[in-house]
Symmetry: C2
Subunit: 201 residues, 2 copies
DNA sequence: CATTTTCTTTAGTGACCATTACAAAATCCT
DNA sequence: AGGATTTTGTAATGGTCACTAAAGAAAATG
Protein backbone atom coordinates (compact mmCIF):
# COMPACT_ATOMS: atom_id res chain seq x y z
CA UNK A 1 0.00 0.00 0.00
CA UNK A 2 2.34 2.70 -1.16
CA UNK A 3 -0.20 4.16 -3.56
CA UNK A 4 -2.19 6.10 -1.00
CA UNK A 5 -0.28 8.81 0.82
CA UNK A 6 -1.40 10.39 4.06
CA UNK A 7 -4.81 11.97 3.51
CA UNK A 8 -3.65 15.14 5.22
CA UNK A 9 -1.05 15.78 2.54
CA UNK A 10 -2.39 18.42 0.18
CA UNK A 11 0.25 17.34 -2.33
CA UNK A 12 -2.31 15.95 -4.74
CA UNK A 13 -2.60 16.44 -8.43
CA UNK A 14 -4.62 19.17 -10.13
CA UNK A 15 -5.40 22.72 -9.17
CA UNK A 16 -5.13 23.22 -5.41
CA UNK A 17 -8.14 24.34 -3.42
CA UNK A 18 -8.25 28.07 -2.96
CA UNK A 19 -9.55 28.06 0.60
CA UNK A 20 -9.15 26.15 3.85
CA UNK A 21 -12.00 23.77 4.61
CA UNK A 22 -11.47 23.93 8.38
CA UNK A 23 -11.72 27.70 8.33
CA UNK A 24 -14.82 27.36 6.21
CA UNK A 25 -16.38 25.02 8.78
CA UNK A 26 -15.57 27.50 11.54
CA UNK A 27 -17.18 30.32 9.63
CA UNK A 28 -20.21 28.18 8.83
CA UNK A 29 -20.57 27.20 12.48
CA UNK A 30 -20.54 30.84 13.47
CA UNK A 31 -23.18 31.75 10.88
CA UNK A 32 -25.49 28.82 11.61
CA UNK A 33 -25.23 29.36 15.34
CA UNK A 34 -25.96 33.06 15.05
CA UNK A 35 -29.23 32.42 13.21
CA UNK A 36 -30.14 28.95 11.99
CA UNK A 37 -29.62 26.40 9.26
CA UNK A 38 -32.56 27.62 7.22
CA UNK A 39 -31.84 31.29 7.78
CA UNK A 40 -28.36 31.03 6.30
CA UNK A 41 -28.87 30.68 2.58
CA UNK A 42 -26.22 29.34 0.30
CA UNK A 43 -25.58 32.80 -1.09
CA UNK A 44 -24.90 34.26 2.36
CA UNK A 45 -22.82 31.25 3.26
CA UNK A 46 -20.59 31.31 0.20
CA UNK A 47 -20.26 35.09 0.42
CA UNK A 48 -19.01 34.79 3.99
CA UNK A 49 -16.59 32.06 2.97
CA UNK A 50 -15.34 34.03 -0.01
CA UNK A 51 -16.10 31.05 -2.19
CA UNK A 52 -18.39 30.53 -5.16
CA UNK A 53 -21.12 27.87 -5.01
CA UNK A 54 -19.41 25.31 -7.31
CA UNK A 55 -16.27 25.38 -5.16
CA UNK A 56 -18.41 24.89 -2.10
CA UNK A 57 -20.15 21.90 -3.65
CA UNK A 58 -16.88 20.36 -4.86
CA UNK A 59 -15.56 20.58 -1.32
CA UNK A 60 -18.58 19.60 0.76
CA UNK A 61 -21.18 17.98 -1.47
CA UNK A 62 -24.23 19.83 -0.22
CA UNK A 63 -25.38 22.40 2.29
CA UNK A 64 -26.77 19.62 4.50
CA UNK A 65 -23.49 17.66 4.39
CA UNK A 66 -21.57 20.81 5.26
CA UNK A 67 -23.88 21.39 8.19
CA UNK A 68 -23.41 17.82 9.37
CA UNK A 69 -19.68 18.39 9.60
CA UNK A 70 -20.32 21.65 11.43
CA UNK A 71 -22.49 19.79 13.92
CA UNK A 72 -19.88 17.11 14.60
CA UNK A 73 -17.30 19.82 15.10
CA UNK A 74 -19.53 21.70 17.50
CA UNK A 75 -20.51 18.59 19.47
CA UNK A 76 -16.87 17.87 20.16
CA UNK A 77 -15.86 21.38 21.09
CA UNK A 78 -18.80 22.59 23.18
CA UNK A 79 -19.85 21.22 26.58
CA UNK A 80 -17.44 18.30 26.78
CA UNK A 81 -19.40 15.63 28.62
CA UNK A 82 -16.30 13.62 29.48
CA UNK A 83 -14.99 16.46 31.62
CA UNK A 84 -18.27 16.97 33.43
CA UNK A 85 -19.68 13.47 33.81
CA UNK A 86 -16.59 11.81 35.27
CA UNK A 87 -17.29 8.33 36.63
CA UNK A 88 -17.38 8.36 40.39
CA UNK A 89 -18.47 11.96 40.62
CA UNK A 90 -21.71 12.25 42.59
CA UNK A 91 -24.49 12.48 39.97
CA UNK A 92 -26.25 15.40 41.60
CA UNK A 93 -23.02 17.34 41.55
CA UNK A 94 -22.09 16.33 38.02
CA UNK A 95 -25.52 17.10 36.59
CA UNK A 96 -25.56 20.40 38.45
CA UNK A 97 -22.26 21.22 36.81
CA UNK A 98 -23.73 20.19 33.44
CA UNK A 99 -26.72 22.50 33.77
CA UNK A 100 -24.57 25.35 35.02
CA UNK A 101 -22.13 24.86 32.17
CA UNK A 102 -25.04 24.89 29.74
CA UNK A 103 -26.42 28.10 31.21
CA UNK A 104 -22.99 29.69 30.99
CA UNK A 105 -22.11 28.41 27.53
CA UNK A 106 -25.49 29.28 26.02
CA UNK A 107 -25.09 32.91 27.03
CA UNK A 108 -21.34 33.35 26.69
CA UNK A 109 -21.34 34.94 23.26
CA UNK A 110 -24.40 37.04 22.36
CA UNK A 111 -23.89 36.05 18.74
CA UNK A 112 -23.88 32.32 19.56
CA UNK A 113 -26.81 31.93 21.91
CA UNK A 114 -28.24 28.57 22.86
CA UNK A 115 -27.11 25.17 21.68
CA UNK A 116 -26.49 24.71 17.97
CA UNK A 117 -27.46 21.04 18.14
CA UNK A 118 -30.65 21.43 20.15
CA UNK A 119 -31.85 24.35 18.06
CA UNK A 120 -31.12 22.54 14.81
CA UNK A 121 -32.90 19.46 16.15
CA UNK A 122 -36.13 21.44 16.16
CA UNK A 123 -36.25 21.69 12.40
CA UNK A 124 -38.89 19.95 10.38
CA UNK A 125 -39.18 16.20 10.63
CA UNK A 126 -38.23 15.37 7.08
CA UNK A 127 -35.37 17.84 7.02
CA UNK A 128 -31.90 16.39 6.62
CA UNK A 129 -30.21 18.89 8.93
CA UNK A 130 -32.74 18.33 11.72
CA UNK A 131 -32.42 14.58 11.41
CA UNK A 132 -28.67 14.73 11.81
CA UNK A 133 -28.93 17.14 14.74
CA UNK A 134 -31.37 14.82 16.47
CA UNK A 135 -28.96 11.94 16.00
CA UNK A 136 -26.18 13.94 17.65
CA UNK A 137 -28.50 15.00 20.47
CA UNK A 138 -29.55 11.39 20.99
CA UNK A 139 -25.96 10.27 21.37
CA UNK A 140 -25.31 12.87 24.03
CA UNK A 141 -28.55 11.91 25.72
CA UNK A 142 -27.41 8.31 25.92
CA UNK A 143 -24.14 9.28 27.53
CA UNK A 144 -26.00 11.23 30.19
CA UNK A 145 -28.36 8.35 30.83
CA UNK A 146 -25.54 5.83 31.17
CA UNK A 147 -23.74 8.09 33.60
CA UNK A 148 -26.82 8.33 35.80
CA UNK A 149 -27.61 4.62 35.51
CA UNK A 150 -24.31 3.73 37.17
CA UNK A 151 -25.57 4.99 40.49
CA UNK A 152 -29.32 5.46 40.04
CA UNK A 153 -30.53 2.87 37.56
CA UNK A 154 -34.10 3.07 38.84
CA UNK A 155 -34.58 6.72 37.94
CA UNK A 156 -31.99 7.16 35.18
CA UNK A 157 -34.62 7.53 32.48
CA UNK A 158 -36.66 10.13 34.33
CA UNK A 159 -33.62 12.15 35.38
CA UNK A 160 -32.22 12.06 31.86
CA UNK A 161 -35.54 13.28 30.55
CA UNK A 162 -35.46 16.11 33.04
CA UNK A 163 -31.90 17.12 32.24
CA UNK A 164 -32.37 17.10 28.46
CA UNK A 165 -35.69 18.88 28.72
CA UNK A 166 -34.15 21.50 30.99
CA UNK A 167 -31.27 22.00 28.58
CA UNK A 168 -33.75 22.52 25.76
CA UNK A 169 -35.46 25.13 27.89
CA UNK A 170 -32.17 26.83 28.71
CA UNK A 171 -31.24 26.92 25.05
CA UNK A 172 -34.60 28.33 24.04
CA UNK A 173 -34.47 30.96 26.77
CA UNK A 174 -30.96 31.97 25.79
CA UNK A 175 -32.13 32.37 22.21
CA UNK A 176 -34.95 34.61 23.34
CA UNK A 177 -32.47 36.90 25.00
CA UNK A 178 -32.28 35.76 28.62
CA UNK A 179 -28.87 36.84 29.93
CA UNK A 180 -26.33 34.79 31.85
CA UNK A 181 -27.37 35.90 35.31
CA UNK A 182 -30.99 34.98 34.73
CA UNK A 183 -30.17 31.69 33.05
CA UNK A 184 -27.89 30.67 35.92
CA UNK A 185 -30.79 31.28 38.29
CA UNK A 186 -33.01 29.04 36.19
CA UNK A 187 -30.33 26.36 36.32
CA UNK A 188 -30.07 26.77 40.08
CA UNK A 189 -33.78 26.09 40.60
CA UNK A 190 -33.64 23.10 38.27
CA UNK A 191 -30.70 21.75 40.23
CA UNK A 192 -32.76 21.94 43.41
CA UNK A 193 -35.28 19.65 41.76
CA UNK A 194 -32.51 17.30 40.73
CA UNK A 195 -31.09 17.15 44.23
CA UNK A 196 -34.44 16.29 45.67
CA UNK A 197 -34.68 13.44 43.20
CA UNK A 198 -31.14 12.11 43.55
CA UNK A 199 -30.06 13.14 47.01
CA UNK A 200 -27.78 16.11 47.19
CA UNK A 201 -24.59 14.26 48.08
CA UNK B 1 -75.89 55.35 13.28
CA UNK B 2 -78.41 53.18 11.56
CA UNK B 3 -76.16 52.65 8.57
CA UNK B 4 -73.93 50.01 10.14
CA UNK B 5 -75.67 46.77 10.98
CA UNK B 6 -74.27 44.15 13.31
CA UNK B 7 -70.93 42.97 11.94
CA UNK B 8 -71.91 39.36 12.48
CA UNK B 9 -74.73 39.61 9.98
CA UNK B 10 -73.58 37.96 6.76
CA UNK B 11 -76.38 39.77 4.98
CA UNK B 12 -74.02 41.97 3.02
CA UNK B 13 -74.03 42.86 -0.60
CA UNK B 14 -72.16 40.97 -3.31
CA UNK B 15 -71.32 37.33 -3.76
CA UNK B 16 -71.33 35.50 -0.43
CA UNK B 17 -68.18 33.84 0.87
CA UNK B 18 -68.10 30.18 -0.02
CA UNK B 19 -66.48 29.00 3.21
CA UNK B 20 -66.57 29.64 6.93
CA UNK B 21 -63.65 31.67 8.23
CA UNK B 22 -63.86 30.16 11.73
CA UNK B 23 -63.65 26.66 10.33
CA UNK B 24 -60.72 27.78 8.22
CA UNK B 25 -58.94 29.10 11.31
CA UNK B 26 -59.53 25.78 13.07
CA UNK B 27 -58.11 23.85 10.17
CA UNK B 28 -55.16 26.20 9.93
CA UNK B 29 -54.46 25.84 13.65
CA UNK B 30 -54.44 22.07 13.29
CA UNK B 31 -52.05 22.20 10.34
CA UNK B 32 -49.66 24.73 11.85
CA UNK B 33 -49.60 22.89 15.17
CA UNK B 34 -48.93 19.55 13.51
CA UNK B 35 -45.83 20.86 11.75
CA UNK B 36 -44.98 24.56 11.77
CA UNK B 37 -45.71 27.89 10.19
CA UNK B 38 -42.97 27.54 7.61
CA UNK B 39 -43.67 23.91 6.87
CA UNK B 40 -47.27 24.61 5.87
CA UNK B 41 -47.09 26.26 2.50
CA UNK B 42 -49.92 28.25 1.08
CA UNK B 43 -50.72 25.50 -1.40
CA UNK B 44 -51.09 22.88 1.36
CA UNK B 45 -53.06 25.35 3.45
CA UNK B 46 -55.53 26.31 0.76
CA UNK B 47 -55.88 22.70 -0.34
CA UNK B 48 -56.82 21.69 3.20
CA UNK B 49 -59.29 24.55 3.41
CA UNK B 50 -60.83 23.71 0.05
CA UNK B 51 -60.22 27.29 -0.98
CA UNK B 52 -58.20 28.87 -3.76
CA UNK B 53 -55.47 31.39 -2.93
CA UNK B 54 -57.36 34.53 -4.06
CA UNK B 55 -60.28 33.65 -1.77
CA UNK B 56 -57.86 33.10 1.08
CA UNK B 57 -56.23 36.46 0.52
CA UNK B 58 -59.57 38.26 0.21
CA UNK B 59 -60.60 36.80 3.54
CA UNK B 60 -57.40 37.05 5.60
CA UNK B 61 -54.99 39.39 3.85
CA UNK B 62 -51.86 37.27 4.10
CA UNK B 63 -50.52 34.02 5.46
CA UNK B 64 -48.91 35.87 8.36
CA UNK B 65 -52.15 37.67 9.23
CA UNK B 66 -54.02 34.39 9.09
CA UNK B 67 -51.47 32.85 11.43
CA UNK B 68 -51.80 35.77 13.83
CA UNK B 69 -55.50 35.07 14.15
CA UNK B 70 -54.75 31.39 14.67
CA UNK B 71 -52.33 32.30 17.46
CA UNK B 72 -54.85 34.51 19.26
CA UNK B 73 -57.41 31.75 18.98
CA UNK B 74 -55.01 29.19 20.36
CA UNK B 75 -53.83 31.41 23.22
CA UNK B 76 -57.40 31.80 24.41
CA UNK B 77 -58.37 28.16 24.13
CA UNK B 78 -55.27 26.34 25.41
CA UNK B 79 -53.91 26.45 28.98
CA UNK B 80 -56.26 29.07 30.39
CA UNK B 81 -54.12 30.95 32.90
CA UNK B 82 -57.12 32.46 34.67
CA UNK B 83 -58.28 29.04 35.76
CA UNK B 84 -54.87 27.96 37.00
CA UNK B 85 -53.37 31.13 38.48
CA UNK B 86 -56.30 32.09 40.68
CA UNK B 87 -55.46 34.88 43.14
CA UNK B 88 -55.08 33.50 46.62
CA UNK B 89 -54.01 30.08 45.47
CA UNK B 90 -50.61 29.15 46.91
CA UNK B 91 -48.06 29.91 44.18
CA UNK B 92 -46.20 26.62 44.51
CA UNK B 93 -49.48 24.80 44.04
CA UNK B 94 -50.67 26.98 41.18
CA UNK B 95 -47.39 26.82 39.30
CA UNK B 96 -47.23 23.07 39.86
CA UNK B 97 -50.67 22.84 38.29
CA UNK B 98 -49.47 25.02 35.42
CA UNK B 99 -46.49 22.80 34.65
CA UNK B 100 -48.58 19.65 34.98
CA UNK B 101 -51.23 21.09 32.68
CA UNK B 102 -48.54 21.97 30.18
CA UNK B 103 -47.08 18.47 30.29
CA UNK B 104 -50.55 17.03 29.81
CA UNK B 105 -51.68 19.42 27.10
CA UNK B 106 -48.45 19.20 25.11
CA UNK B 107 -48.81 15.45 24.79
CA UNK B 108 -52.59 15.12 24.62
CA UNK B 109 -52.89 14.82 20.86
CA UNK B 110 -49.96 13.23 19.04
CA UNK B 111 -50.75 15.42 16.07
CA UNK B 112 -50.63 18.61 18.16
CA UNK B 113 -47.52 18.19 20.23
CA UNK B 114 -45.97 21.02 22.21
CA UNK B 115 -47.15 24.61 22.40
CA UNK B 116 -48.07 26.34 19.16
CA UNK B 117 -47.04 29.72 20.55
CA UNK B 118 -43.70 28.70 22.03
CA UNK B 119 -42.71 26.75 18.94
CA UNK B 120 -43.68 29.56 16.61
CA UNK B 121 -41.76 32.00 18.80
CA UNK B 122 -38.56 30.20 17.85
CA UNK B 123 -38.78 31.31 14.24
CA UNK B 124 -36.30 33.71 12.77
CA UNK B 125 -35.94 37.14 14.30
CA UNK B 126 -37.18 39.14 11.35
CA UNK B 127 -40.07 36.81 10.67
CA UNK B 128 -43.55 38.23 11.09
CA UNK B 129 -45.05 35.04 12.51
CA UNK B 130 -42.28 34.62 15.08
CA UNK B 131 -42.58 38.24 16.16
CA UNK B 132 -46.29 37.87 16.79
CA UNK B 133 -45.81 34.59 18.64
CA UNK B 134 -43.20 36.20 20.88
CA UNK B 135 -45.62 39.01 21.65
CA UNK B 136 -48.27 36.51 22.73
CA UNK B 137 -45.72 34.56 24.77
CA UNK B 138 -44.57 37.77 26.46
CA UNK B 139 -48.13 38.61 27.50
CA UNK B 140 -48.57 35.22 29.12
CA UNK B 141 -45.20 35.58 30.77
CA UNK B 142 -46.26 38.87 32.32
CA UNK B 143 -49.40 37.34 33.75
CA UNK B 144 -47.36 34.61 35.39
CA UNK B 145 -44.91 37.11 36.82
CA UNK B 146 -47.66 39.28 38.26
CA UNK B 147 -49.28 36.29 39.87
CA UNK B 148 -46.03 35.34 41.59
CA UNK B 149 -45.21 38.91 42.57
CA UNK B 150 -48.36 39.11 44.70
CA UNK B 151 -46.85 36.75 47.26
CA UNK B 152 -43.16 36.53 46.36
CA UNK B 153 -42.11 39.86 44.87
CA UNK B 154 -38.45 39.27 45.69
CA UNK B 155 -38.10 36.19 43.52
CA UNK B 156 -40.90 36.71 41.01
CA UNK B 157 -38.52 37.37 38.15
CA UNK B 158 -36.37 34.31 38.79
CA UNK B 159 -39.33 32.00 39.29
CA UNK B 160 -41.02 33.32 36.16
CA UNK B 161 -37.83 32.70 34.22
CA UNK B 162 -37.75 29.16 35.54
CA UNK B 163 -41.38 28.45 34.73
CA UNK B 164 -41.22 29.82 31.18
CA UNK B 165 -37.92 28.12 30.51
CA UNK B 166 -39.31 24.84 31.81
CA UNK B 167 -42.38 25.18 29.63
CA UNK B 168 -40.16 25.75 26.61
CA UNK B 169 -38.31 22.58 27.54
CA UNK B 170 -41.54 20.64 27.95
CA UNK B 171 -42.78 21.84 24.58
CA UNK B 172 -39.52 20.93 22.87
CA UNK B 173 -39.47 17.50 24.50
CA UNK B 174 -43.07 16.85 23.51
CA UNK B 175 -42.19 17.76 19.93
CA UNK B 176 -39.33 15.31 19.96
CA UNK B 177 -41.70 12.54 20.89
CA UNK B 178 -41.58 12.33 24.67
CA UNK B 179 -44.87 10.81 25.79
CA UNK B 180 -47.23 12.00 28.50
CA UNK B 181 -45.92 9.75 31.27
CA UNK B 182 -42.35 10.86 30.76
CA UNK B 183 -43.26 14.53 30.42
CA UNK B 184 -45.26 14.43 33.63
CA UNK B 185 -42.20 13.06 35.41
CA UNK B 186 -40.14 15.93 34.06
CA UNK B 187 -42.75 18.35 35.36
CA UNK B 188 -42.71 16.64 38.74
CA UNK B 189 -38.95 17.13 39.17
CA UNK B 190 -39.23 20.75 38.07
CA UNK B 191 -41.99 21.27 40.61
CA UNK B 192 -39.68 19.99 43.35
CA UNK B 193 -37.27 22.75 42.42
CA UNK B 194 -40.08 25.28 42.51
CA UNK B 195 -41.20 24.15 45.94
CA UNK B 196 -37.72 24.49 47.32
CA UNK B 197 -37.65 28.04 46.02
CA UNK B 198 -41.13 29.11 47.09
CA UNK B 199 -41.94 26.88 50.05
CA UNK B 200 -44.26 24.01 49.35
CA UNK B 201 -47.33 25.38 51.10
C1' DC C 1 5.54 21.00 -24.09
C1' DA C 2 1.38 18.19 -23.83
C1' DT C 3 -1.81 15.54 -21.02
C1' DT C 4 -4.32 14.67 -17.01
C1' DT C 5 -6.48 16.02 -12.98
C1' DT C 6 -8.68 19.07 -10.00
C1' DC C 7 -10.54 23.38 -8.77
C1' DT C 8 -12.71 28.01 -10.02
C1' DT C 9 -15.56 31.02 -12.65
C1' DT C 10 -19.63 32.57 -15.13
C1' DA C 11 -24.04 32.09 -15.73
C1' DG C 12 -27.69 29.84 -15.36
C1' DT C 13 -31.27 25.65 -13.86
C1' DG C 14 -35.81 24.23 -12.26
C1' DA C 15 -38.49 24.04 -8.03
C1' DC C 16 -41.04 26.16 -4.76
C1' DC C 17 -42.62 30.21 -2.27
C1' DA C 18 -46.25 33.85 -1.15
C1' DT C 19 -48.92 36.75 -3.67
C1' DT C 20 -51.95 38.77 -7.42
C1' DA C 21 -54.23 40.47 -12.40
C1' DC C 22 -58.08 39.46 -14.58
C1' DA C 23 -62.46 38.17 -15.66
C1' DA C 24 -66.49 35.28 -14.64
C1' DA C 25 -70.04 34.24 -11.14
C1' DA C 26 -73.18 35.17 -7.39
C1' DT C 27 -75.56 38.08 -4.55
C1' DC C 28 -78.09 42.76 -3.14
C1' DC C 29 -80.30 47.18 -4.31
C1' DT C 30 -83.09 50.07 -7.26
C1' DA D 1 -84.16 43.63 -15.51
C1' DG D 2 -79.88 46.39 -14.72
C1' DG D 3 -76.15 48.08 -12.25
C1' DA D 4 -73.28 47.74 -7.95
C1' DT D 5 -70.51 44.96 -5.17
C1' DT D 6 -68.02 41.15 -3.47
C1' DT D 7 -66.05 36.48 -4.02
C1' DT D 8 -64.65 33.07 -7.12
C1' DG D 9 -61.50 30.35 -10.44
C1' DT D 10 -57.72 30.37 -13.83
C1' DA D 11 -53.34 31.31 -14.53
C1' DA D 12 -49.57 33.68 -13.88
C1' DT D 13 -45.86 36.94 -11.29
C1' DG D 14 -41.53 37.92 -9.33
C1' DG D 15 -38.44 36.25 -5.71
C1' DT D 16 -35.57 33.07 -3.44
C1' DC D 17 -33.88 28.61 -2.81
C1' DA D 18 -30.26 24.86 -3.37
C1' DC D 19 -27.77 23.31 -6.96
C1' DT D 20 -25.04 22.65 -11.55
C1' DA D 21 -23.39 22.58 -16.85
C1' DA D 22 -19.64 24.18 -19.26
C1' DA D 23 -15.45 26.13 -19.94
C1' DG D 24 -11.24 28.35 -18.22
C1' DA D 25 -7.18 28.13 -14.93
C1' DA D 26 -3.66 26.02 -11.96
C1' DA D 27 -1.18 22.41 -10.48
C1' DA D 28 1.31 17.46 -11.12
C1' DT D 29 2.79 13.87 -14.50
C1' DG D 30 4.80 12.09 -18.80
Amino acid sequence: MVTKENAKQPARRGRPRGFDTETALDTGQRLFHASSYDAVGLAALTDALGVKPPSFYKAFGSKAAFFSRVLERYAQSALALDDILQPGRPPAQALAALLESAARTYTQDPEQRGCLVLEAARGQDGDDSATHARRVAEQRRNRIRQFIARTHPECAAAVTDFVTSTMSGLSASAREGMDQTRLMEVARIAIAGLEKQLGSE
